[in-house]
Amino acid sequence: MPEAKDPLRYFRIEARELVDQISSGVLDLDQRPGPEPVAQLLRAAHTLKGAARVVKQKEIADHAHAFEEILVPHRGEAAVPMAAEEMRELLRLNDEIAARVGALEKPPAPPAVAAGPAETPAVPEREEITVNPRAATADLDDLLDAIGETNTRMAPLRTGCDTVERLHRTAEGLADQLRAGRTGAGAQASAERLAGELGSASRRFIDAVDQIERELDDVRAKAEGLRLVPVSTIFTALRRAVRDAADAEGKRVRFDARGGQIRMGAHLLGPVSGAFLHVVRNAVVHGIEPEDVRLATGKPAEGTVTLEVERRGRYAAFRCADDGRGFDLEALRRTAQARGLLAPGGTTPETRDLLDLVLHGGISTAPAVTEVSGRGIGMDAVREVAAQLKGEVQVRSEPGAGAVVELVFPLALLAMTGLNVEAGGTLATVPLDVVRGCVRLSAEEAASAAITGRIVYDGSAAPFLPLTEALYAGSTVPGDAPGLGAAVVMNGDAGLFAVGVDRLAGTSVLVARPLPDLAPASPVIGSVSVDADGNPRLVLDPQGLADEVARGHAAGARTEATASAPLPILVVDDSLTTRMLERSILESAGYEVDLAASGEEALEKAGARRYGLFLTDIDMPGINGFQFVERTRADPRLAGVPAILVSSRASAADRDRGRAAGASAYVVKGEFDQVQLLSHIRRLVVRS
């Protein structure tokens, strides 16, 4: 049907918004009765009734009218409280209206199997809350504003085109003069004027194009943001599920949800919402105790189920907690034994192991399969969704105090504001929400920060690492980088830390996506975004950076628990004295060291064990150091292990040859500087 002829075009949009308002309004009213939610619901239902009549949607109008009829006696200050039966009827009408509005949104489908032989399955298969990726009106307005803004920036370009045209004519006139041999002062003056005007026109063009580029960048980011849906869109359906489950069980349960402003792709939110429908129902049915039991144990009569959504770096965490009785560990143990999952009479399993069974074994603590909460289905659903989204599930339970189910998964697309920084010629982005501040560094301050590994900020010394050391681990920093000019101070789990950058390059709104398959990167890289030119830009992971700074900082004695251990170092030298000297230096710096007395022996050892670094002499009988480096670079399995050449040869030609062979650093024995050697190693060594 052509759009213009579709009489329901606007009604669908309006009705969907009104239904959303009604659905959440009914639940508000259920939890916090009062004149305000009643008034809001009446307004929404009344508007819907009117609109539905206009487009001849009689059923929707009639249901909206019935809805109003129930509410009318309860409006105003001195209202009669709602009876439970009335509340149920409101919810039922809400569902009817939602279903009919939903049906209008779907293209006419082949008639579904009506009441017939198809039995309703006892267990719902994969339930999902419909997550509509339609954009909120406010977001669309923002986008339209940004497009309008970009349009207005076209005006100077348009004027510029006229100017260019005029200058073109002037230039032609001048050319005519010159052709006619009129090369006097007049021609020179007009040539100079022309040059001047061209100069200013060119500056205006550059400004205008720069501005348009920035505006378009903004437009692109806003448009990409439209692909993301706020988490709050699923809250109403979850509240409703809690409400219905509580009603069926005769319990009173409050549902709290936090973190609704976080946005993510509809393809993630859909499956997660489905799993959490089960989780919240389970919490009500299995977790929250009947009112009398709660009162007897000193708990409030009303149970609480809380859903908290959080963004942790590039991960999202959905955590559902209840204040019920916790998992019935004894019942779990019995069921597990009956199913042969635990050996009868064996040692008493740890709580942890039992909870793992809940997660993995498809068993449930419920004494019977109930209408709303099937046996073990909730946990199966969460586990499946976790596998699908490459996430992780954790279950915690405290007998008598409640249970927590947490799902953490990587976000595919993530809208964020980033601080762009440049280090060693690479432009990267730091999520702005972890940035505490930026400090400009003088050359002396930069040198001091790099040497001490600390920077004073806000009266305390924060661990500091030049970003290049994290970005160029395992390779050579380009020689033409300007050097440290600023420090970015960030909040980490273990306190403030700072990275040194060459310069700050402004902030931008961006949509970060995970690194592609086949691109394993250091943990300092969290994700990647695509800039206005279509080129990838690295987005740094604050936690990965914090670990890297801590690791760079743990220059020996202090090792962070979070830092992974460096792989052993293979020292290759035909001189026993050098081997022993290097071993003692490396071992006292905390590295594990293997020794090889020749290039051949080293190749053999390198093939048999994973090393984090090769430290090799050049002049050796048989395979020399250059050849050893070349051969290891040529083997894709060894090429990832950085190599440092240590030699008494100090000429530039030898350094060049070393670089050409693929060595990551070159240390001259005569200038042997232990600190410098260790700093190279710290920067380069591969960690497990």
């Binding site: 699908q388 398959d517 691109a519 279509g534 894709p636 399995r637």
Partner: protein
């Protein structure tokens, strides 16, 4: 027969034109094979065009900090971020020069191979290609050309090596 009237020439052109549509489309690979003659790390190779999804010069590659040495970084292709591997390094003879060309490979997940020079595009009869596995397996077959033989880089085998280096087995299915 040398002098044709304009009308005859038009008629002949029209016939040729019509016949070109009447004939079945020529299938490349049937009797001939299309190759790209490239240079990687200073050595000549050939790549089968059917194993490529595109060739792009001078596309910016964003370097990634990584322990996988042949992984140069990532590049953007129509909004998709694609890992870029140095072909010379994968074949075991890296050179310090940054490769200029990117070959977007056929298959999934997306993967681009970087090489230093594009010599030319070739269509050669199938019997110029001698099929044999050379060395570690990234090379498969040799094409005989007037200016010398070129080993053919087998993109699927190279992809398998990349999967191994990246620690990702080419098994798309999740094992539950």
């Amino acid at each position: 027969m040398s002098e044709l009237t304009v009308a005859e020439r038009v008629a002949r052109l029209r016939e040729d034109f019509d016949r070109s549509f009447a004939e079945p489309a020529r299938v490349s690979g049937g009797e001939s094979i299309e190759l790209l003659a490239v240079r990687a790390g200073g050595r000549p190779y050939a790549l089968k065009l059917t194993q490529a999804a595109g060739v792009h010069p001078d596309r910016p590659v964003t370097a990634l900090p990584t322990t996988v040495r042949p992984l140069l970084g990532v590049a953007g292709f129509a909004g998709i971020v694609v890992p870029v591997y140095d072909l010379a390094a994968l074949l075991g003879h890296p050179i310090p020069d940054r490769p200029r060309w990117l070959l977007l490979t056929a298959g999934t997940p997306p993967l681009a191979l970087a090489f230093h020079g594009l010599d030319r595009h070739l269509r050669v009869p199938v019997d110029c290609v001698i099929d044999s596995v050379i060395g570690d397996g990234c090379l498969r077959g040799v094409v005989r050309l007037p200016d010398g033989d070129r080993a053919i880089v087998d993109v699927p085998a190279t992809r398998a090596l990349v999967h191994e280096l990246a620690g990702q087995r080419p098994v798309p299915e999740e094992i539950r």
